[in-house]
Structures are given as structure tokens and as C-alpha cells.
């Protein structure tokens, strides 16, 4: 073990992943959650997958400056939120159009009860009706369980603003989802 000190040094630093390794590791750990995060923001799964793909490609290109998994994850989150916002703004018309043509009947229930499907739809629809910032803050707070300070950093707003968006958004969401808040999940 003559090289023990060298090894320790390597280990105590952040993993010295190449950009490709970072991509694979972070994808394995976070792809699904980030797509789900984006779905909460943009509603449509395919669009969300596109947004998150772009985020991973951007992260890969930036890895030499990020170098640490935590920083890379924060960067991915930020890219996903920004990308989702951008997609919503640029494709607003298309998305609204598509949504209006979705027939509830096309959502085969599988082993889900109709209630559960209706409830999930109601949650996604309710999030859509919120102002952009409230939707983003609630999603990061309630889905990712991020602390307020980290939400503030991700969105580039103050902690006070995070609190006020969270409080107003929660109140609206409680009203919109009143029917679903009493039953068991």
C-alpha cells in the first residue's frame, strides 16, 4: 500500500469523474426525478423529457467547471426549471391547444382506480393554473423538498419571495384541490 496517501487524497476529493462518467452517474441517480419535476412544471411527459435531456447535455458540456456532483445536480435542477419555463412560454399556444384535445377516456386506468387518475390529473391541472413562480416554488418545495434558501438560489429570487410565493401558491392549491385533500392517498 505504498500509494495509500495518493489514494486517500483522491478519495477525499470529489470523485474525479470524466464528463461522460458524470453524465452516466447523474443520469442513473436523477433522470426520473428530474423528468417528474419538469412534468409538474410543463404537464407533458414528452416535453419534460426533452427539457431534461437538454439539461443533461448542457451539464455534460459544463462538467469541467462544475466538477462536483452536488454542483452538477444544482445546475441540472436550475436548467430543468429554466428549460421548462422557456418551453412553456414558447410553446404556450401549442400546449394549451394539445391539452384541450386530451380526452380523459384515452387515459387507460390499468390497475389504478379512476379516483387516483382523476386526482393526479387534478393536481397537475391545478399546478398549471398557478402563476409561474408559485408553481416553481411549490414544486421545488413540495416535490424535491428543497430548503427555501436553495429554492431562492435555484430561481434567483430572495428567500422572502420564496416564502410569499409558497404561501400564496399553497393557499390557491388547497382551494383548487379541496376535494382531494380529505381522502387517503
Amino acid at each position: 500500500m505504498t500509494h495509500a496517501s495518493t489514494r486517500e487524497q483522491t478519495v477525499s476529493e470529489s470523485p474525479s469523474w470524466s464528463a461522460d462518467e458524470a453524465l452516466d452517474e447523474l443520469y442513473a441517480a436523477h433522470w426520473r426525478q428530474l423528468v417528474r419535476l419538469s412534468v409538474l412544471l410543463v404537464r407533458d411527459t414528452g416535453t419534460a423529457e426533452e427539457v431534461v435531456q437538454d439539461a443533461f447535455v448542457a451539464m455534460h458540456g459544463r462538467w469541467s467547471r462544475l466538477r462536483e456532483p452536488d454542483k452538477a445536480l444544482a445546475y441540472l435542477r436550475q436548467s430543468v426549471v429554466n428549460g421548462s419555463r422557456s418551453v412553456l412560454r414558447h410553446r404556450g399556444v401549442v400546449t394549451r391547444h394539445a391539452a384541450s384535445h386530451l380526452s380523459p377516456g384515452s387515459r387507460a386506468g390499468g390497475d389504478e382506480t379512476a379516483d387516483a387518475v382523476a386526482r393526479r390529473d387534478a393536481v397537475l391541472e391545478a399546478l398549471r393554473t398557478l402563476p409561474e413562480r408559485q408553481r416553481e416554488v411549490l414544486t421545488l418545495r413540495y416535490y424535491l423538498d428543497l430548503p427555501e434558501a436553495e429554492i431562492a438560489t435555484t430561481l434567483g429570487i430572495s428567500r422572502g419571495a420564496v416564502k410569499s410565493h409558497a404561501s400564496r401558491g399553497s393557499a390557491t392549491l388547497r382551494d383548487l384541490l379541496a376535494d382531494h385533500l380529505t381522502g387517503d392517498l
Binding site: 464528463a19 461522460d20 453524465l23 443520469y27 433522470w31 426520473r32 423528468v35 417528474r36 412534468v39 409538474l40 407533458d44 411527459t45 414528452g46 416535453t47 419534460a48 423529457e49 426533452e50 431534461v52 435531456q53 443533461f56 447535455v57 422557456s86 412560454r89 414558447h90 410553446r91 404556450g92 401549442v94 394539445a98 391539452a99 384535445h101 386530451l102 380526452s103 384515452s106 387515459r107 387507460a108 386506468g109 390499468g110 389504478e112 387516483a116 387518475v117 393526479r120 390529473d121 393536481v123 397537475l124 399546478l127 411549490l138 413540495y142 416535490y143 423538498d145 430548503p147 427555501e148 428567500r159 416564502k163 404561501s167 399553497s170 392549491l173 388547497r174 384541490l177 382531494h180 385533500l181
Partner: protein, 356 residues
């Protein structure tokens, strides 16, 4: 400043809705986008629309299978074997065995190929079409019967042309089939040029191959049928044998905008993307106002050029916040190193967009 407590009931509702979403695996596409040019070339050599499909709304893989059958990069556990379908084409209904996948608001994006004009004659341009429901080959073909979103393109197939479509194989080994609904499609109608007839046949091949996979187009040959028998010609084009897609250079416009879509409303800034094959991988873009004055322009570099079909490009964010609201034309053009002195000029594509 301490964090306000979370509303745990809301948190549970939101987590429940989110966790119901089952993302499709896209590691292979991401790796290919970040990989070396050599590997990208292999991927895009398919000449099809995989990136367009991925860039739009590829919610569901065909036949429940997200894998690309020929990608050399094994992703996480994927089953590369699509479900085997009925090998005998049926005269009615769709032979595609997919059932609409579960999940809220499934939308499948199809890359649909239409004819449009280039300086080299008519070629195929693609548009991404988002259709509610799971991936289905006949649904994709039926888009060929509907007008394109971009008025510069034209649909070559009349309504009611297609009776069914299917795939009889496993992985990429197999044959795609399309059953025509009308014997009159055998002959080229008056008013259709021979070039458009050829493109009409190609448009079915390219659209089916793209629709058959959420990722890389399935490069299976396409056999045309009438009832249960192969049909010897379609619009006068020989079709006795199953047909492979023609080469991109002969068939496709070498510049194709994927986003913005025709009539898209943009504000602030937007990123345009598409695919091309141009000199030194360069593309130029411009935004012109209703009077034809160029108000913004720029360029982007595609991920490749040369042999092997079209390569993805995307612009930097285009800031339109300083523009007066109204309708503008976004033009993407291949670079013309001769400055128009040689040949017929570079391929271009345009979209009308609305700046808010």
C-alpha cells in the same frame, strides 16, 4: 430566517401525481448528443428524424420499447425486442399492436414527411405532429393525408389512402407494411408530377420508419399492399419489392426547421433548432418583418456535415424582446460558399412566427 413548514397533505398529493409519471429512458440519445463526432455520424447516418422526435414529444415508445435497436451504446436495461405483430397485413384497422399506455395525457409525436420545393427540385421536409394517444403506425400515416402546418409544404396523399400498417419483425429485422385503401392509388393522378409521385412513396417509407421507434428510425424496408397482396406500383412508382428509404441527399431537403413550428408565438427570446447538411456544417438564419426587412440574423453550427443524412443544429437564444409585436418570417439556410455564383443555391426552410 427559518423555513416555513411544508403543507404535508399538499406535498403528498404532488408527489403522488409526479411519481405516477414513468419517464422513458433517453440516456442513449443524451450520450449521442454529447459524444464524439464519429459516433454521432453513425447515429445520424440513419438520415431520419430521431432528434426531431426526441426534441418534440416522444412520450411513448413504439410497441412499449424505448430502445433503439441498432445503437452501439447499451443503455440501462432495455429490451431491444419489439412485440411481434401479425405478419399478414389486414385490410382494415391497424395492425399495430399498441394499446394506449397508461398515464395522464399521453401524447405521441410523429415526424411526418411532406413535399416542398428546394432549388434542386421537390424534396421531403418533416414536421413534428403531436397526437393524443400511444404510438401507432396507422395514426402516423394518416397525418400524411392532412395538410402540413407549414403552407410551404404539400401533402401528397388524399384522405382515406391508408387502411392499415404494421411491422412483422423483431428489432430491425423485419418488414414494415402499409395497406392501401384504394386501388386507384396504383396510378399517378393527373396533376401529380413524377417527382412528387416518387416523393409520395418515399414519404410513406420515411414516416413509417420514423414512427416505428421513439428513437432512431427503424430501418426496415416497407412493402406496399392492396388488400392482402403486394401492389406492383403506387402512383406509377414500382413497389413490387419492399423498399428501403432513398438517400437523404436525393430525398430530403438539406435544411429543415424543427422549432419554431409554423405560427408559433414567441416572446423574450427563443431557440431555433432543426437539422441540415450544409457546407462546413454551417447554417445561417434571419428574421424578417412583414415588409421583408431583415431585423435579426445569425448563424449556428450543426453537429456534422457530409455523408449520412441530416445533422442537428440549434441557435443561441434569439432575443426578440426589442421587436415590435407582429408576424415575422424565420428563415434557415445552408451556407453557400460560392455566394450564389455556383449551382442552384442552398436549401432553405422558413417558418412564420408571431412575436408578442
Amino acid at each position: 430566517m427559518t423555513d416555513d413548514p411544508r403543507d404535508e397533505q399538499l406535498a403528498r398529493l404532488i408527489a403522488d401525481a409526479a411519481d405516477d409519471v414513468q419517464p422513458t429512458d433517453h440516456l442513449t440519445e443524451i450520450r449521442l448528443r454529447t459524444a464524439s463526432a464519429r459516433r454521432r455520424t453513425r447515429w445520424y447516418a440513419a438520415g431520419g428524424a430521431s432528434l426531431l422526435a426526441a426534441a418534440a414529444v416522444a412520450a411513448v415508445a413504439l410497441l412499449g420499447n424505448p430502445a433503439s435497436p441498432t445503437a452501439d451504446d447499451p443503455g440501462p436495461a432495455q429490451d431491444p425486442t419489439p412485440t411481434v405483430t401479425d405478419p399478414a397485413p389486414t385490410p382494415s384497422g391497424s395492425a399495430s399492436p399498441t394499446t394506449p399506455p397508461t398515464g395522464a395525457g399521453t401524447v405521441t409525436s410523429y415526424t411526418i414527411f411532406y413535399a416542398g420545393d428546394t432549388p434542386r427540385g421537390p424534396r421531403l421536409y418533416s414536421e413534428v405532429r403531436d397526437v393524443p394517444g400511444g404510438r401507432d403506425l396507422l395514426t402516423a400515416l394518416r397525418q400524411l393525408e392532412t395538410p402540413s402546418l407549414d403552407p410551404d409544404y404539400r401533402a401528397l396523399w388524399p384522405a382515406g389512402s391508408f387502411a392499415s400498417a404494421g411491422f412483422d419483425g423483431v428489432g430491425a429485422d423485419g418488414q414494415l407494411s402499409v395497406v392501401l385503401a384504394d386501388a386507384s392509388l396504383r396510378d399517378r393522378p393527373a396533376g401529380m408530377s413524377a417527382a412528387d409521385a416518387q416523393l409520395a412513396v418515399e414519404s410513406v417509407i420515411w414516416t413509417l420508419q420514423a414512427a416505428a421507434s421513439a428513437g432512431e428510425p427503424l430501418k426496415a424496408p416497407v412493402q406496399f399492399y392492396l388488400d392482402r397482396n403486394p401492389i406492383d406500383q403506387v402512383f406509377g412508382v414500382p413497389t413490387s419489392e419492399a423498399l428501403a428509404a432513398g438517400s437523404s441527399d436525393d430525398v430530403q431537403a438539406q435544411m429543415n426547421i424543427a422549432f419554431p413550428a409554423e405560427g408559433a408565438v414567441v416572446s423574450g427570446s427563443f431557440i431555433a433548432l432543426g437539422r441540415n447538411n450544409g457546407f462546413e456544417a454551417t447554417m445561417t438564419w434571419s428574421l424578417t418583418d412583414a415588409a421583408g426587412t431583415v431585423v435579426l440574423d445569425g448563424f449556428a453550427t450543426a453537429e456534422g456535415s457530409g455523408e449520412g443524412g441530416l445533422f442537428p443544429w440549434r441557435t443561441e437564444p434569439i432575443d426578440v424582446s426589442g421587436l415590435r409585436p407582429g408576424t415575422y418570417t424565420f428563415t434557415a439556410a445552408n451556407d453557400d460558399p460560392s455566394g450564389g455564383a455556383e449551382g442552384s443555391g442552398p436549401d432553405t426552410d422558413t417558418r412564420s412566427i408571431i412575436v408578442e
